[in-house]
Subunit: 431 residues, 2 copies
């Protein structure tokens, strides 16, 4: 090791699945990391909430006094992998106040208090990096912020939650019901005991907010993300999608509307098999980006897990260390465009509407008339079953969410409609 190399000391908050991998790699890859960052990286303190030994971390580093880490004058960089809003927010603000650069994997915190934290980092002239917060090891943050800095992003669509993608993959490939696959995923450790945050789309919504902020140089918070999960997706919808050469995926979508507003939302989407996102299976993540010059790009990889997340954190660590060595900072968060969020009622999509109807003559005409009355033009209708079990699957052309909601309300009130079973948005050219 080069004796003249500057030492950069690291304090880590949290020592769970990700933190333990970061600690391991920092110690095993010391030489490569110093070659690449130009400094000797030393893990100095690890903050935990419950005391006690941690595998692979020297006991002398461990402390429950988290504040002593972020105020330690000898520590240069803080890695925050503890999660949650507080005390993470207060600790990061304190670290920034003490001129430490911060690397965090905390999507919920950034999607809620990002504006405050990025402004603090900007004022203190330190880095606040967060590659690990969205899609784990996939370098989507750096690619959008730096590689596409000379381009205009128009749309981002991501499979950013591994649990729901695993469940939807199993439903599609094995023809099994949601509840059954969820139970299996919990047994295998792919879903948590309380799976709400994943299956209701909240985890994806935090990531959608971060992607939207980056893509459109504006501040977007999780509260502004329209969110629907996958718990209402029935196996009948999965089969219907399959029959159309499509697949159902939970997507985080951020796009620029014709009015130059940002539409940002998380919901299930019917995608044609030919779409690059359609072949992303099991717990893998992928983010599909459309931009004016580059056209279509897709980034694919592991969205979670200790080692993949640690890879993203260490990539940020090398960058931040290099900035320290050169007394500079990297790309800050930019919100110069300051675009508004489009009201969800104004957002346009194609829709799949599945409904049970009474099999009488004229049913199709009446249903079509209801769609027309709300300015919803129909692309295709498939009718199946007979008698009380007759089913219509309608694919509409693009229409607003407001029209859709009004139409569904009218359909529900029709005597010949026994039930509107499901409504799913459609992306791409579905035949």
């Amino acid at each position: 090791m080069d004796a003249g190399l500057k030492t950069i000391s690291i304090g880590m908050l949290g020592a769970g699945v990700v933190g333990s991998q970061v600690a391991r790699l920092l110690q095993s890859d010391e030489q490569e990391l110093s070659e690449r960052s130009g400094a000797l990286l030393v893990l100095k303190k690890v903050g935990v909430r419950s005391p006690g030994p941690r595998d692979g971390i020297d006991a002398s580093m461990i402390t429950t006094d988290l504040n002593s880490i972020v105020t330690d004058p000898e520590i240069n960089i803080i890695i925050e992998v503890m999660g949650g809003i507080e005390p993470a927010r207060t600790l990061i603000l304190e670290a920034i106040k003490n001129k430490k650069s911060v690397i965090t994997a905390n999507k919920a915190l950034l999607a809620t208090h990002g504006h405050e934290l990025f402004n603090a980092a900007d004022a203190a002239k330190v880095d606040l990096y967060y590659e690990a917060a969205v899609a784990g090891a996939i370098p989507i943050i750096r690619s959008m912020r730096e590689s596409l800095a000379g381009d205009q992003i128009t749309r981002v669509m991501g499979i950013v939650n591994g649990t729901t993608n695993y469940i939807l993959t199993k439903m599609h490939e094995e023809g099994r019901e949601f509840a059954e696959v969820l139970k299996e995923a919990q047994a295998l450790g792919y879903a948590e005991a309380d799976p709400t945050s994943d299956i209701e789309g909240h985890d994806a919504a935090a990531k959608a907010a971060l992607l939207a902020s980056l893509a459109f140089h504006s501040t977007v918070t999780i509260d502004e993300v329209y969110c629907e999960g996958i718990s209402n997706i029935s196996i009948d919808d999965v089969h219907a999608a399959k029959a159309m050469n499509c697949v159902i995926k939970l997507l985080a979508i951020a796009e620029l509307t014709v009015k130059d507003e940002i539409s940002v939302r998380v919901h299930p989407v019917i995608l044609p098999n030919s779409h690059p996102l359609a072949s992303v299976r099991n717990a893998f993540n992928a983010v599909y980006v459309e931009s004016e010059s580059a056209g279509e790009l897709m980034f694919y990889g592991r969205g979670a897990g200790g080692a993949p997340t640690a890879s993203a954190i260490l990539g940020d660590l090398v960058a931040v260390t290099r900035h320290r060595a050169y007394s500079t900072v990297g790309y800050g968060e930019s919100d110069y465009a300051d675009l508004d969020i489009a009201p969800v009622g104004e957002v346009k999509s194609q829709y799949y509407v599945r409904l049970h109807v009474t099999d009488k003559s004229g049913v199709l005409a009446s249903v079509a008339q209801t769609f027309a009355s709300e300015d919803m033009s129909i692309q295709t209708v498939r009718q199946s079953g007979m008698g009380q079990d007759a089913e219509l699957i309608v694919i509409t052309h693009r229409a607003t969410e407001a029209s859709l909601n009004a139409c569904v309300k009218k359909l529900t009130d029709m005597a010949i409609v026994s039930k509107v079973e499901s409504v799913i948005r459609v992306e791409g050219a579905v035949a």
Copy 2:
């Protein structure tokens, strides 16, 4: 526009398909670019070899005196999009000597003289960026160099030539012969009048050298890349691959061997349909990266074309401009690992060997014996046809190229073997 903003002047060498898009975007997106880079970017001079007006470029900027651009004291950054080895090499060296940062899309130059150019940039403390040189708009250079800086890459496999991927896609999907599809691709402008560089793999080999250098922190030149093109791929091989649920792709491969040497090569590969690279169709590019912590990653997008390449160049331009503003430089090229290139004979793959044999009893046993005599273990054999048309398709387990070559020579000399029709390497789990 902020009046206090520093002006960064740009000189461009070349004004072809890519250069004209760079000029257009520099002028149309001036405000966004200045917000993102922190400086006012102004195109000052454009160097061309044949004089005359260029669409969208003010005539007063155009000059045929290329040297006057790289020595102009008012120019800060040079964008080189003229291609070719000379005079590009001399001009870039002169620009670097004059303390200008350089952005280039010139893969052939970097794969030949990269070491000299990167060393010169390092000594002069200027940036030499080249995102556009590999896979167009796909941000693979920055992702490998920066995002994966805290990880150990073990293998890179890329579809990095759009022309050959277009041809192979058409052969696979439409069952047409190579020569016919090539002619069509030339008519459509997807292949050049002299398609040698694309179809013999030379273009991909330059990119393979750049990817190998980056992945393994070593200097790799195009001469060190083992290279086979696709002109020998017959429609029979395409059909055989299809029957095995596989597809044939031309891949650039760079991997670390068990001896910690670099194997770097370009050749056709039989890939199972389940591999993420298998679904990359037509002229799209994709690079698949395996690393110790992140696991599998894939980057997908447009690998060529004026606008996508310009997007990559402008991303580099924003980065390099930011470095100028902060009086710093970005990640330089690193070759600290200085690994050797593995002799191609020692590289191990699985192989697909298709041969015509005389349909006599004992043929299979004799052929199997020949494989065994060269330490090549057989995974599967498929026999089809009768009499003089009998065909064997053998898929081997992993063996060295040296064993393969010796085995093919012995097979060719066997009286019962009328011809060894083709040999293609196999990646992934082919059944």
